[in-house]
Amino acid sequence: MATILIVEDEIPINELIKRNLQSVGHRCISAFDGMEAIDELAQQKIDLVLLDIMLPEIDGYEVFQQIHGTPTIFLTARSSLSDKVKGLTLGADDYLVKPFDMLELLARVEALLRRTNKETRNFKLDGVEVDFKSRQVFLHKNLVECTPREFDLLEVLVNNRNIALSRDKLLELAWGYDYIGDTRTVDVHIQKLRKKLKLESRIKTVYKMGYRLEV
């Protein structure tokens, strides 16, 4: 769980990002303009900033220069190359162009947190404990044998907890883009995970969608 500052002047989008990040277990603070963002950063320890470039009063670039040190992902509607280059040369860690996919945002946030070691790498739920560093899973302190693919799938579910993932999306995220196989494979692996970890009530089948790990 990380503390994330969302700097975005569009209230609906700010709220949307907040809700999505909260559903996977992050603590979120909203700021609607540059001044507010700088105030928030001064007041508390923040692990990651999602920063819109087009902000009223103080624009995103200026805010960024004052928050040096905190990992930052720029969010913007501008898609021109010069903007991207400017953002990255200033030292931004990543860049997302609106409109973006929520799963992509979550994946980038997750990746950046992992890079900067801000994420606590253990996940606990109903006696199941997942240690991402050693890639081991325990049920009531007992080690459960998992195949690498099963662990990958579990990791994807944990990272996107509370989000319904389609079978195709799961294939893409856990198996990789180049995997050629049936979505049945996903069903089989999900069944195995449910049985091994006693997560039948947690890994839910979402009608006509896929699966969701509910926390």
Partner: protein, 465 residues
């Protein structure tokens, strides 16, 4: 064109000049030859007559005719040969005494039978020399003898030839001089044309600032002036087009951004409902956002459509009672004003306004609505309609927070926002003042703004027609 003119002029000149020379020289030649012929005829007559007289005298002294002819011929020949004249005498087509002469001439035979008292004149060529020949019989009773008179005209011809060559040489010199002068003159004449063509080329290449220097006040200067005028017009038109294109591009960019933001939230919340929402409360929360963002899109499309119809159609204008117009405006704003605790005062000093009531209503409501947004509770907004310099004027004034000059220049641009987050949360589409401006233009009225930070903003609508 220049080369063409030069060639044409030059060739024509050559043609006439040389044909003139040719004509003159050939006339001279013909004249000279004619006079030589006349002279030869006279000489021949004189010689033949005196010859006959002398022969007659010799005959009286009992000298035989043949020896008389011979001795006379010798003395005549000797005398005339000094004057470039050759004499021959023949009898019955046979040349006599050809061997008497020191130089022997290879003279052509006189083939024709010459009748008495008839003389033939012709031009003969002997040993590269030209002679005028006169052939005729001696007077009777010696008409069996034929006297031929050869007069050397080589000198005449060669002097003519010399003259002709000299004339041609001088002609060539004159032609050369003429060519140089012609080129010079043509250059001068064509220089302005060349200037115009090079300037128009550079203008065609996009350098719209280029002009021709105008000298003098002849036709060419006039042309240069009108050319410059044309270039100026083109330049200003191009500038206007560029500005219009830029504005349009700005509008499209803004529209794209304006559309993208609500679409991003709509898509995002739909995804949120599909993948995350588990409680009824969350669902309502997300659908509320979807609906409000849809309304925003709807607002934009309605305003854009209204502006489009305003642009294309003339409004239906009638005489409207000011009191009626103001009452309607008051009605639609009183709730909002009460809510924000802002007082609005209305005042009018003329009774009727020639306008489209609906459009004028939209305009005034928009202006006052903006004033409401800029004012805080306890503020005062005044609408004052009066006549200034014979023009009807409506002024909307507030004592709200005002704005900087920089903002003031842009507020009528589509989607321009002084404070984006706040006006968006208030549901504005960023098109209100753009619509106002459009309505003002439609009514041939001028809409201007003045503002001071902290003191308030004044919108002034001046009807010019």
């Amino acid at each position: 064109m220049k080369i063409k003119t030069f060639l044409f002029t030059f060739i024509l000149f050559l043609l006439f000049f040389y044909s003139g020379i040719l004509l003159i020289s050939s006339m001279t030649l013909i004249n000279n030859l004619e006079s030589s012929k006349d002279r030869s005829l006279r000489e021949h007559y004189f010689i033949a007559t005196s010859y006959a007289k002398d022969l007659n005298a010799l005959e009286n002294r009992d000298v035989s005719i043949d020896s008389g002819v011979e001795s006379l011929y010798r003395s005549y020949f000797n005398f005339y040969s000094k004057q470039k004249v050759i004499l021959t005498i023949s009898k019955e087509n046979k040349r006599l005494y050809a061997n008497l002469t020191e130089e022997s001439y290879n003279l052509p035979e006189i083939s024709e039978n010459i009748k008495v008292s008839e003389r033939l004149v012709s031009i003969e060529k002997l040993e590269d020399k030209d002679y005028v020949r006169v052939v005729g019989t001696l007077p009777a009773p010696y008409d069996s003898y034929t006297l031929a008179y050869y007069y050397n005209v080589s000198d005449v011809i060669s002097s003519w030839y010399k003259m002709t060559v000299t004339l041609f040489l001088i002609g060539m010199l004159i032609c050369g001089l003429l060519a140089v002068c012609l080129l010079f003159v043509l250059n001068r004449v064509f220089k302005p044309l060349q200037l115009i063509s090079s300037t128009s080329k550079s203008i065609a290449n996009g350098q719209y600032g280029n002009r021709i220097e105008v000298k003098g006040d002849d036709e060419l200067a006039e042309m240069a002036q009108s050319f410059n005028h044309m270039a100026e017009e083109i330049q200003s038109q191009m500038q206007q087009l560029a500005i219009a294109a830029e504005q349009k591009q700005q509008f499209v960019d803004n529209l794209a951004h304006e559309l993208r933001t609500p679409l991003t939230s709509i898509y995002g919340y739909a995804e949120y409902i599909q993948k995350i929402v588990r409680t009824e409360e969350d669902r309502i929360f997300a659908t509320n956002y979807i609906m409000s963002e849809c309304r925003r899109l709807q607002n934009i499309s309605v305003l854009l459509l209204e502006m489009a119809t305003l642009r294309t159609s003339e409004s239906e204008r009638k005489k409207i009672e000011m009191s009626e117009l103001i009452r309607d405006v008051e009605q639609s704003l009183s709730m909002k004003a009460k809510e924000k605790q802002i007082e609005i005062s209305y005042e009018h000093h003329f009774n009727t306004l020639f306008c489209d009531a609906d459009l004028m209503h939209i305009l005034l409501v928009n202006l006052i609505d903006n004033a409401l947004k800029a004012s805080s509770s306890g503020g005062l907004i005044t609408l004052n309609a009066y006549i200034e310099n014979e023009h009807k004027v409506i002024v909307v004034q507030d004592n709200g927070k005002g704005m900087s000059k920089e903002h003031l220049n842009h507020i009528t641009e589509a989607f321009y926002r002084v404070d984006s987050s706040r006006s968006r949360s208030a549901g504005g589409a960023g098109l209100g003042l753009t619509l106002c401006k459009q309505i003002a233009v439609n009514h041939h009225a001028e809409l201007s703004f003045s503002s001071e930070i902290g003191k308030g903003t004044t919108a002034k609508l001046t009807f010019t027609s």
